[in-house]
C-alpha cells in the first residue's frame, strides 16, 4: 500500500470517527427512538467513489470497531457491524449498476444500515417483534439517506479534478 494511500485512509477513518462523535453528542433519538443521521456515511460514500471498494470496507469496519470501543460497548459493535456490512454491500451493488446517483446509493445505504441492525437484533434477542419497527426505520433511513447523499455528492463533486488514493 502506497504511503499516500495509507495517509489518506488514516485521514478518512479519523474523519468518519469525528462524524460518529458529533452524532453521539447530538442524538436524534428524541424524535424517533434509535434513529441516527448516519453522518459517517458521508465519508464512507466519499471513499467508495473516490478511492475504492476495498478501501471503503476497510474504513467502514475500522471506524465501527474504534467507535464502539471508544463511545459504546462490544454489544453495540455487533449491531453496528451488521449494519455497516449490509449497508456497504448494497451501496456497492447499486453503484456498480451505474443506474443511480449518489443520492440513490445513499438512500439504500441508510435503509440497509437499519435493516442490518434489526436482523442482528432478531438473531441476538430472538424476538421477531422488533421487526415491526422496520417501516419506521425504512422511512427515516430514506429521509436521512437523501440528506447524506446530497452532501456526499457535493463533496465528491468538489474533488472531481483531484486524484486521491
Amino acid at each position: 500500500m502506497k504511503t499516500k494511500k495509507v495517509a489518506m485512509l488514516g485521514l478518512t477513518i479519523a474523519l468518519a470517527m469525528i462524524m460518529s462523535y458529533i452524532e453521539a453528542l447530538v442524538p436524534l433519538s428524541f424524535a424517533v427512538p434509535g434513529i441516527k443521521m448516519g453522518l459517517a456515511n458521508i465519508v464512507i460514500i466519499f471513499v467508495l467513489y473516490k478511492i475504492g471498494t476495498k478501501e471503503a470496507i476497510l474504513v467502514s469496519l475500522i471506524r465501527v470497531i474504534l467507535v464502539s470501543l471508544l463511545f459504546s460497548n462490544v454489544m453495540a459493535m455487533a449491531y453496528s457491524i451488521a449494519g455497516a456490512v449490509l449497508s456497504l454491500l448494497v451501496m456497492w451493488v447499486l453503484k456498480k449498476t451505474d443506474k443511480f446517483s449518489v443520492i440513490g446509493v445513499s438512500i439504500a445505504g441508510g435503509i440497509m444500515h437499519n435493516v442490518g441492525q434489526i436482523i442482528m437484533a432478531v438473531i441476538l434477542l430472538g424476538t421477531e417483534q422488533i421487526a415491526l419497527y422496520l417501516p419506521v426505520l425504512i422511512i427515516t433511513g430514506t429521509a436521512t439517506g437523501v440528506v447524506i447523499g446530497i452532501v456526499a455528492g457535493l463533496v465528491i463533486n468538489r474533488f472531481r479534478n483531484i486524484r486521491i488514493g
Binding site: F100, V102, I103, I107, I111, P135, I138
Partner: protein
C-alpha cells in the same frame, strides 16, 4: 452538478418511492395481522405475575417490590395504566392496548403489561 445527472436522479426517486411503498405495505400487513387480544399479562422483571381477561372490566393496583405501584384499568376490551408511582409517567402516557403483541412498559417499576391472544392462555387457567 455533474454528480446529479437527470436520468440517475429519476431512478433515485423511483427507488425512494418503491422503498416507501414497501414500508407502507409492511406496516399495513402487520396492522392487519394484529388480532384482538384475550388477556392482559403482567410481567415483573421478566416473570409473569398475573393475567387478567380483557372481557371483564376491572381496576387492579399492581404493587412492585420497590414500594411503587401501577393502576391497571381493564375496560371495553382494553388495558390501560391510569396512574403510577414512577416519576416519569411514561406508562401512564402510553395509549390503552387491546391487540395481541401490544405492550405498556414501566421501566422504573420493572413492570410490563402485554396483550396475549386466547391461544396463549395456559391450560390450567382455562380449566
Amino acid at each position: 452538478m455533474g454528480m446529479f445527472k437527470d436520468k440517475k436522479v429519476r431512478n433515485d426517486i423511483i427507488l425512494a418511492i418503491a422503498v416507501l411503498v414497501a414500508a407502507a405495505g409492511i406496516w399495513l400487513g402487520t396492522e392487519l395481522l394484529k388480532e384482538d387480544g384475550a388477556f392482559a399479562v403482567v410481567t415483573v422483571k421478566g416473570i409473569e405475575t398475573a393475567r387478567y381477561p380483557l372481557d371483564t372490566d376491572a381496576e387492579i393496583r399492581l404493587e412492585s417490590e420497590n414500594g411503587g405501584y401501577n393502576i391497571l384499568i381493564i375496560k371495553n376490551g382494553k388495558a390501560d395504566i391510569t396512574d403510577a408511582s414512577c416519576p416519569d409517567h411514561v406508562c401512564v402516557d402510553q395509549r390503552a392496548i387491546g391487540k395481541t403483541g401490544e405492550a405498556i412498559t414501566c421501566l422504573p417499576n420493572k413492570t410490563v403489561i402485554t396483550v396475549e391472544g386466547p391461544e396463549e392462555a395456559e391450560v390450567d387457567f382455562v380449566s
